[in-house]
């Protein structure tokens, strides 16, 4: 992302962007903004996509600079080590892309951006026996691949890598959709069992694409299964909260997203009709 990079390079001490995955998604637009569009026609969901692309800039890549520079102290990460010409160092992606665009170095291809590895991943994804996604691809593989392939022109077989990545993305999306189908068939129609999908190793972009639908579906499910006028009320609300938490196993960042939805559950409390105050109604003639 060029504009954000130029913004970063102007100021030495960068704004504190914490790179751990748990808090990275908390920096994204809050899930409390539930609308697809606000009044001016701008899409909140597109903002989430660009945000995750922006946050992918913090991932580390190996970079071979063509110049030497001293250690850079930054506020966000500890430091970017001394750059020596010709020796590969680990830099954040935004810096790598920035320097590559000015032809001051070269980004080395990542381990998983290789045709053979990607073919293996595709095989794994297509295999119907394996329920979860391949563990080769990191969380933000789509954003990383897009940035690197856009900037770095002389990776061999770049086109093939692109095609393979597109195929993998399609197959993964289909996998999630099939999971949702089985979820809807089996457990969503009951209110007692916890609906769970196993989505370990999901990609961040896939999550962002499906997030509004899934959160809305779970909210509606909660509304439809909530209104029992008895002591069962509490267990149902807890079930709703638990199901929201458990539906993203293995992804700590996802828990903070869905945890914001639990506030909806608590707000719901005053909607339960309370009839204790009406016991003293007199009949009128």
């Amino acid at each position: 992302p060029t504009s954000s990079d130029s913004r970063r390079s102007r100021y030495k001490p960068t704004t504190a962007i914490i790179t751990t995955r748990t808090t990275a998604t908390m920096a994204a637009p809050s899930t409390a903004s539930s609308g697809g569009k606000n009044a001016l026609g701008l899409s909140e969901d597109f903002k989430r996509h660009t945000c995750s692309g922006f946050l992918a800039g913090d991932e580390n890549v190996r970079f071979v600079p063509s110049f030497s520079y001293d250690k850079i102290e930054l506020m966000s990460r500890s430091s970017i080590g001394p750059l020596r010409a010709g020796i590969d160092t680990v830099v954040p992606l935004w810096l790598g892309v920035l320097l590559r665009q000015r032809n001051m170095g070269r980004i080395l291809p990542l381990e998983w951006m290789d045709v053979d590895v990607l073919r293996g991943v595709l095989q794994h994804e297509k295999d119907p026996t394996k329920a979860s996604f391949s563990s080769e691809l990191p969380f933000r593989y789509a954003e990383l691949a897009r940035s690197i392939l856009a900037v770095e022109s002389d990776i061999d077989q770049a086109d093939q890598i692109r095609l393979l990545l597109e195929d993998i993305a399609t197959v993964r999306m289909d996998k999630i959709r099939r999971n949702l189908h089985t979820l809807s068939e089996q457990s969503l129609s009951q209110t007692t069992t916890l609906p769970i999908i196993d989505v370990t190793n999901i990609g961040s972009l896939e999550m962002a694409a499906l997030r509004p639908f899934i959160t809305q579906a779970f909210r509606d499910h909660l509304t439809l299964s909530r209104k029992i006028q008895s002591a069962n009320n509490n267990t149902e609300k807890n079930a709703g909260a638990q199901q929201a938490r458990a539906s993203r196993l293995g992804r700590p960042s996802a828990k903070t997203d869905i945890a914001a939805d639990e506030d909806e559950n608590d707000v719901v409390d005053d909607e339960v009709p309370v009839n204790k105050g009406r016991s003293r109604i007199r009949r009128f003639r």
């Binding site: 992302p1 060029t2 504009s3 954000s4 539930s34 697809g36 569009k37 606000n38 009044a39 001016l40 026609g41 701008l42 899409s43 909140e44 969901d45 597109f46 903002k47 989430r48 996509h49 660009t50 692309g53 922006f54 897009r146 940035s147 959709r177 949702l180 189908h181 809807s184 068939e185 969503l188 129609s189 972009l205 962002a208 694409a209 499906l210 997030r211 509004p212 639908f213 959160t215 809305q216 579906a217 509606d220 499910h221 909660l222 509304t223 439809l224 299964s225 209104k227 006028q229 909806e264 707000v267 719901v268 005053d270 909607e271 009709p273 009839n275 016991s279 109604i281 009949r283 009128f284």
Partner: protein, 263 residues
């Protein structure tokens, strides 16, 4: 989720659901509620307030919207029963073919109306349980039990319809038809499902948009746009209220939101 505020339009409109009720004693001057009002002769003695012809006789059945009879049921004036499309036969028809059922044809807010009716039934049953038993005739109690059974069955039906075939089809349609006209599908969905579809397609179109533009396209925030347009107009000291409708200069109407597309 729709906000549960008092002014929430969706819940207000979903209470418009007509509920069949029978009154338990004569209603004064409310004869117009009865469906065969036009046969009553009202041309003579209009000034007489105690005209018996204007009374709604006991045990006449009529249909009233849910918001109006909520107090009446709790005061014990009327006896309610199940609206037509929540009954056993309609439910079975729904369960037989959930995805093709045109829920919108009966009520645009099928699910929320159903929930409101269930809430009404459960609130009547709790208030009457605090009354002394002799106030309830056996017939009324029977009706209440029928209502409660129907309410319970309706709850499961609503949940199963929503999360069953319709959810799957909505997911497939939302995720795969970016930029296509799927009004043939959405015109059968209730408001709740339409909202769901809208969210799904919004996510899908944002994904598509990201694939073409990446991070290059950055949109202005709401406050920044308003500030910019206020500067260009020079209305820093005007008392004009800034509403979203005023900003016609910078509406980037993105490709999402299928319902606004006219093709």
């Amino acid at each position: 989720m729709q906000s549960s505020s008092y002014y929430d339009i969706d819940s207000i409109l979903s209470e418009e659901e007509l509920v069949p009720c029978t009154n338990l004693f004569d209603f004064a001057r409310l004869a117009h509620l009865s469906p065969d009002y036009h046969t009553i002769d009202t041309t003579s003695n209009k000034e007489n307030n105690n005209n018996k012809a204007l009374y709604l006789p006991e045990s006449s059945s009529f249909k009233m919207p849910l918001w109006s009879i909520e107090q009446w049921t709790q005061l014990g004036f009327v006896k309610i029963s199940v609206p037509k499309h929540f009954r056993q036969t309609a439910r079975e028809r729904l369960q037989a073919d959930p995805s093709q059922a045109d829920l919108r044809r009966y009520n645009e807010r099928f699910y929320t109306s159903g929930l409101k009716w269930i809430a009404l039934v459960s609130s009547t049953s709790t208030t009457s349980s605090t009354d002394t038993n002799k106030n309830l005739s056996r017939q009324q109690r029977q009706q209440q039990e029928i209502n409660q059974r129907e309410a319970k069955a309706l709850r499961t039906t609503l949940l199963q319809t929503y999360t069953g075939d319709r959810l799957r089809r909505t997911l497939d349609f939302a995720m795969s038809s970016v930029g296509d006209d799927v009004s043939f599908y959405t015109k059968k969905l209730t408001e709740m499902e339409r909202h769901l579809f809208q969210r799904g397609s919004s996510g899908a179109t944002a994904f598509q948009k990201w694939k073409t533009y990446g991070n290059r396209r950055i949109e202005m925030g709401v406050l920044a746009q308003r500030a910019a347009s206020m500067e260009t107009r020079g209305c820093t000291s005007s008392s004009k209220v800034v509403t979203p409708d005023n900003h016609t200069n910078n509406t980037t109407n993105a490709t999402g939101n299928k319902r606004q597309r006219r093709q």
